[in-house]
């Protein structure tokens, strides 16, 4: 017997058998050959047995023993997936509450993502939506100007014809130019933007004609209007064949074209033939030239253009171009900064970052929620998983099943998110941001790609952890019931902390925006704007007549004239000090009594003199900020150099808000404007009812200038646009904070409920032993208080920096600092919500009859 074990079958043959043999057959085959070996060993001796063994193994190397699949072992995959779906749907239904939380949370986040996607896509696409955009180019010549090579987006008008005529390799062309001539319809006249184009404009670009034909642009007596312009001029009336007087010439409307969508570089309202501008404007003007090539003929076109450039350079040596380049319509707007006087604008980077951050925040919050809640949901299915594992489910299969269930849930959430986004989020966002985005679900390919990526991404990120975690349990420990559902799960605690940090940051952002806006609404502007009215003098009557008519009103106390107006008209230029330093200064040309009429206080020096001596015509006032930059104390008649003119500073005003609060307080210089050149007026009244005053002023002008619209406004309204803008921003922030609070409260709710249900027996026993409500809840509160406290400290610190930077970029230094009061308010909001969320669960435990909890198996 002992020598039997000394002689063993050759190892390599055995290994070879193990390697090739179908594992399902291995046992019986290997057993057989081994048995034969030992049988032969006894009968024929070791060497013969070994040889036979090897021979057997080789003979067994045949297809039927190698192939890995057999009919009986094939999975019915379709049936399996169907089964997963059914179980998935049943499970979602069985655990309605957490499923709903998951779906709602995810769909809120997805709604945000969709809005951000739509907006960012719109910004990035810009002009690429034109179907021929790949073939359309803008001519951009370059030459050295002021020592730098400058690339221009336009050509001089006189040469626009040359640059479009006889160019080889082009399919279509259009020159584009802009002007704001007076436009009159009926009684009313005002300057309006007119776009002068060639016929090719309508063929190259995808703007749709709504009424009439594009060819009518060739008729020099006709005009094509955009949809919104047609509505503006003619209201509900059918616009075709209506008359419009532009620059003194009458045109009849021959077509209505689609409005240029938001974000596109080519804008149009009133379209006239390019030749009209050539006839009317004799001086040189900017002409933008778009050419459409055929495939591959771009180089041909470029060489042809270079030839034209050569001719141009011969005739215009002073403004000769160094080179000519073609800028694709697709990249025109993005490269806007390189092209001087180019069309369109580049990507505003800050809002893109802000929106993607918000969307990312929301998705992170919702995903973390999902991970926490679905892990806890799966905990309740431990027995099912244990039984499945015992029956023989592979881990891979369990993971696949969980991911399938996730897919169902995420699909539902995406459907709901789409609805939310198109019905609520997007319209709301449009209103705030003034954009015209719409959710065209069925035709928008990019949207579908985005949705599918989102589906896969969210399914995997949110589902991977629960699936792997749950499927990793040993069936024995599951069925014995001693797996730990609490305590060990540090990850969920970390995720919750992270969620709470995000919540704190968004809450702080909302608080700071509300707080800053509120304090700005009540802030001093540095001058008195109550009972002041601004007007723009009409051209048709003398200014003195206007003053007289206004002063005839008993409510009007005084009228002063100026050119620039505090609150709206302003520009920046450098001021040079005597020793050659320079700093940027805002300058306003004002009437001599203008600043006085606004009750702007002087801190030093004097106001403008009453009589205009030649000496005083070079007198200026500056603000305190100016003196700070100037770096010296005020002295009578100190000299500054501004706009190549030397001025004497005669006085210093207090700082006041001549611009809205989103621009930094800058040095300002107030230059006395000659009275004849003043175009605006400031009226001081003693009537506090603004509506009534507006009526009175309107009535004066109706009588005085029946044919001319006169602009008048209350000085207190000059920041209204700004306040509206900040209100929009504030609304976005509050909305985001509310979403973040809802999402993190949901996460907290889910986690507390797991924590409680896993210790439900502890609570039952405590209760029987006479624990009070407080004592029962204490443990739960303690654990979560720690998380929330940590989150608040980290989030608070983070928001001082992050939100501080955000506020600074938005309010430019005029924001409120993130002090202890807002931080305290943020902490209070967070802890209140956390407490309420936890309390609802603890309350249930308190009310529960311990008999049930203890009996619960």
């Amino acid at each position: 017997m002992s020598d039997q074990f000394e002689h063993k079958p050759p190892k390599w043959a055995d290994r070879f058998l193990r390697w090739y043999c179908n594992p399902k057959l291995l046992e019986q085959i290997q057993g057989d050959v081994h048995e034969l070996y030992y049988w032969r060993l006894e009968e024929k001796g070791p060497s013969k047995a070994k040889k036979s063994f090897i021979w057997d193994v080789i003979r067994l190397f045949r297809w039927s023993n190698i192939k890995r699949t057999r009919n009986t072992q094939k999975f019915n995959n379709m049936g399996m997936i169907k089964n997963y779906f059914k179980i998935g749907v049943r499970n979602l239904w069985k655990q309605r509450m957490p499923s709903t939380i998951n779906i709602i949370g995810l769909s809120l986040a997805i709604g945000c993502c969709l809005v951000a996607f739509k907006w960012i896509e719109n910004i990035i696409i810009k002009d690429a939506w034109h179907s021929k955009s790949d073939d359309i180019y803008l001519i951009t010549p370059s030459r050295i100007e002021d020592g730098d090579m400058t690339r221009f987006g336009y050509l001089p008008s006189q040469w626009s014809e040359e640059f479009t005529k006889d160019i080889s390799g082009i399919v279509d062309k259009s020159r584009v130019s802009y002007l704001s001539p007076p436009v009159r319809s009926g009684e009313n006249e005002w300057p309006d933007m007119v776009t002068y184009v060639d016929e090719g404009y309508f063929r190259m670009f995808d703007f749709k004609m709504i009424y009439g034909s594009a060819e009518s642009i060739n008729d020099l007596g006709s005009v094509i209007l955009s949809e919104s312009e047609a509505q503006f001029y003619f209201g509900d009336e059918f616009p075709l064949d209506k008359e419009l007087t532009i620059n003194g010439k009458v045109y009849s409307v021959s077509g209505v074209i689609q409005d240029a969508p938001n974000g596109t570089s080519l804008r149009h309202g009133i379209l006239l033939n390019y030749q009209i501008k050539e006839q009317e404007v004799k001086e040189e003007f900017r002409s933008y030239i778009f050419l459409q090539t055929e495939d591959l003929s771009k180089d041909l076109m470029l060489s042809s253009l270079t030839q034209v450039m050569g001719r141009y350079n011969n005739e215009n040596p002073k403004t000769a171009y160094a080179s000519i380049k073609l800028e694709s319509l697709n990249t025109m707007a993005h490269n806007n900064e390189e092209i001087s006087g180019g069309l369109g604008s580049g990507i505003p980077i800050e809002p893109v970052i802000l929106l993607s951050c918000i969307a990312g925040f929301m998705l992170t919050l919702a995903t973390f929620n999902y991970i926490n809640i679905s892990t806890s949901m799966a905990m309740k299915r431990m027995k099912e998983i244990g039984v499945r594992k015992v029956i023989g489910s592979k881990r891979k299969q369990l993971i696949f099943q969980f991911l399938t269930e996730n897919l169902i849930l995420v699909s539902l959430a995406i459907g709901l998110g789409l609805l939310l986004a198109s019905a609520y989020f997007l319209p709301g966002f449009n209103e705030i941001s003034g954009s015209d985005l719409s959710m065209d679900i069925f035709t928008h390919l990019n949207l579908w790609i985005f949705l599918i990526i989102l589906l896969i991404f969210v399914t995997v990120t949110s589902g991977a952890y629960p699936a792997f975690y749950i499927s990793s349990f040993k069936p024995a420990s599951i069925l014995r019931g001693n797996h730990k559902t609490d305590g060990k799960r540090r990850l969920t605690g970390i995720l919750l902390t992270f969620q709470m940090i995000l919540a704190v940051v968004t809450i702080m952002a909302a608080i700071m925006f509300v707080y800053t806006n509120q304090s700005q609404l009540n802030a001093e502007w540095g001058y008195s704007y109550q009972d002041k009215w601004g007007i723009r003098y009409p051209l048709s009557v003398p200014k003195s007549a206007v003053d007289e008519a206004l002063l005839a009103l008993p409510q009007v106390e005084s009228v002063v004239r100026t050119r620039d107006v505090v609150g709206s008209a302003y520009r920046d230029e450098y001021t040079y000090t005597q020793d050659g330093r320079r700093f940027e200064t805002c300058y306003l040309y004002v009437g001599k009594e203008y600043l006085n009429a606004l009750d702007i206080e002087l801190v030093e020096g004097r106001n403008f003199n009453n009589e205009v001596s030649s000496e005083d015509s070079k007198a200026v006032l500056v603000n305190e900020e100016f003196m700070k930059f100037y770096g010296e104390d005020f002295q009578e008649d100190m000299l500054v150099n501004f706009d190549s003119t030397e001025y004497r500073v005669v006085g210093v005003t207090k700082n006041f808000y001549y611009r809205p609060f989103n621009s930094r307080m800058k040095p300002a210089i107030f230059i006395r404007n000659a009275d004849s050149l003043n175009i605006a007026g400031l009226i001081t009244v003693n009537e506090t009812d603004e509506a009534k005053m507006q009526q009175l002023i309107d009535k004066v002008f109706e009588e005085l200038t029946p044919n001319e619209e006169v602009i008048s406004y209350a000085q207190s309204e000059v920041f209204d646009n700004y306040f509206q803008e900040t209100k929009g921003m504030q609304n976005i922030m509050v909305f985001v904070a509310i979403l973040a609070i809802i999402l993190s409260a949901m996460g907290l709710y889910g986690l507390v409920s797991v924590s409680i249900s896993s210790r439900i027996k502890d609570f039952g026993i405590k209760k029987i032993l006479g624990a009070s409500g407080y004592q029962i809840g204490k443990d739960v509160y303690k654990r979560f208080a720690l998380i929330i406290g940590t989150a608040f400290i980290i989030g608070g610190t983070l928001s001082v920096f992050v939100i501080g930077a955000l506020l600074d970029s938005f309010y430019a230094g005029n924001q409120e600092p993130i002090g202890p009061i807002p931080l305290f308010a943020g902490g209070l909001i967070l802890s209140t919500i956390a407490f309420v969320t936890i309390y609802t669960q603890v309350f249930q435990v308190k009310r529960m009859n311990p008999a049930y909890t203890l009996r619960k198996e």
């Binding site: 049988w39 021979w55 057997d56 003979r59 045949r62 039927s64």
Partner: protein
Amino acid sequence: MKGKGTYIGELEELILLVVGILGDDAYAVGVLKEIKDQTGREVNISGIHAVLARLEDKGWLRSSMGGASKVRGGRRKRYYHLTSAGREMLDQVRSMRENLYAQLPQGMTYSFSS
């Protein structure tokens, strides 16, 4: 017989018979030994495996895994059992053979043997 698929070969018939003879103790090596004992013919184990699998596919045998045995290093055997279809098949083959045999001309053997 019911068409091509149910054709039975010589080795198949032999193994089917031996499985039937061995009853509850029929597994590949057992069959191999039995054939050797009864006919002196040593069939390779791989052939036996292939035939057993084929017979099972045809429905004349069915199999189950049995207990482990020490000599096989604790590996289990696959036991084969004759099914009623297999038994019927054997009966058919035999009756056909006897039928054919009976038609051999009488007396021919005697002329040779004597």
